[in-house]
Amino acid sequence: MIPLLRVRDLRATFVDDDGTTRAVDGVSFDLDEGEALGIVGESGAGKSVLALSLLRLIDPPGRIAPGSLVEYRGTDLLQLPEPALRRVRGAEIAMVFQHPGASLNPVLRIGDQIVETLRAHRAVTMPDARRQAVELLDLVGIPEPDRWVSAYPHELSGGLQQRAAIAMALSCEPKLLIADEPTTALDVTVQAQILELLLELRQRLGTALLLISHDLGVVARLAERVAVMYGGQIVEQATAAELFASPRHPYTAALLAAAPRWDRKSERLAAIPGAVAPATRWPAGCRFHPRCPHAWERCGDSPPLLEVGTGHAARCWLVAEPGSLTP
């Protein structure tokens, strides 16, 4: 079976006075139909640029390097003419952003925006589109959908706005939903509501999910498989269960150890020393090695993603050493 999305050696760069920023630097992964893949990383890891690059949504001076491949059901989206790509966006692959304001037009009623999306991609009559808009708002758990359908975005709370943005993204029954920090701007009880909604919708509609988040907890709740990004690269990927239970890359392990948890008391947090290098000046070799507690002489060379088990790989020389590192 060919994967729904096949990404190979994706590179996105930004050139300005400070030099060339290699924001996404050789990312490869597969996403199957109906699968939920989480991309986790801190700021500057390149995860948002990755999400935008998949749909060619990065603006100049950003550009996707030749040789990159983003194949959706066998078609390379990077080579697709703009009109054909526009048919894919929204209808086949939809996006939800951190701030629902990025998806919602402030001067249009919620219902009209959904109707507009539906009619852009589907041959539906106006009354049918309106009826579907109400159904969609109901699907995403907006109370009294026939009332809110004629509301403007600002009349909704942040949580309801995000629900409306999800309704709009799902309106054309996309095969893939890309969600970039969908709950980050929301209060914690609202976060839980939106996460439950995404879980439920995936079960019901079978939509594949590419979830981008800095929040390990959010990724653990939604994703079946996880890729950890650092310095524009994937440094580890595995099933969610394996990644959280036995991380093999020192960065993944450090990230998990650094996060405080409400359900257990920790005396002192295991902070990661230093900070991420600016993307214009990645350190030579392993990009994490200046901050890594396990760094040794080999780390001056760039490690490839090394297989450590079925579907589990880490970009670290130590995993190739017998009897080494169990962080």
Binding site: V190, A220, A254, W262, R268
Partner: protein
Amino acid sequence: MSSGLLVVVDRVSKTFRTHPRFGAQAHTLHAVRDVSLGIERGETLGLVGESGSGKTTLGRLVLGLLRPTSGTVRFDGQELSTLDRRSLRRLRRRMQIVFQDSAGALNPRIPVGRAVREPLEVHRLAAGSAIEVRVHGLFAEVGLDAELLVKYPHELSGGQRQRVGLARALALEPEFVVLDEPVSALDVSVQAQVLNLLADLRERHDLTYLFVAHDLAVVRHLATRVAVMYAGRIVEHGTGDTLFARPRHPYTASLLASVSVPDPGAPRPAIVLPPERGRAAAGSGCPFAPRCPHPAKDARCARDEPTLREVAPREWAACHYAERG
């Protein structure tokens, strides 16, 4: 360390009058309603709540940056609202605040070394070469290289700017610091560095913290006692250990259940609150009642607003049915 209460908040309320505009009616916003609490010397009180709960306003009231509409705030026995400007200014030296957005709190046009030096000059705490020594000392204390002294805020990382904010707050050797979401804007790896630093500074300088945050994990880590706010009121109050292990108020329980933990095997949340449909009007029963998942919820909740009461030794909750968890 001397014990006893450093801050006493007694039945404080704060209302804001919104301006009528775009055809909307002016109305009164009850940001903080009838809040009483004490903060003991040397403790860290965590103040938790979601946006609009009133936690930031309460932090400002405690520092005297806002005047309460009713009620009193005492700092080391002195009631803030009765002090004249000079005495208030003298007292303010002993209390400081660190904001979430250190980029916004620092002047973008002055080097960060000067930003730390400024409070020393304003309060005439040092002069001449002593100032230089002190500023260098403060930078070292918060883990910043002296070479960063001449940098501008935008040249620093978020974590470094937050350290500058701390150095500036420490310059006046305060006893009490309000930390308003001090690590919310930081990445996990840097957040851990700053949390560790906050714990070290507390130890070294016998600091008392009011730690305002929405992130329960962060509060759990640093706070000795925790107060939970909802709709301008404190709905639960207890030691960190008991409150997190055994929440007494259904809102606290929902809040805890909502947090995603980095463990795919963790059970799905038992309680997911329904979307909020707007705040209940003041004085009409429990403000949480419309969303409350408590099985014992009844007509009484819609009618009588519960007061904060001691439901177990050193555990307070504002719920009629707190004992029936």
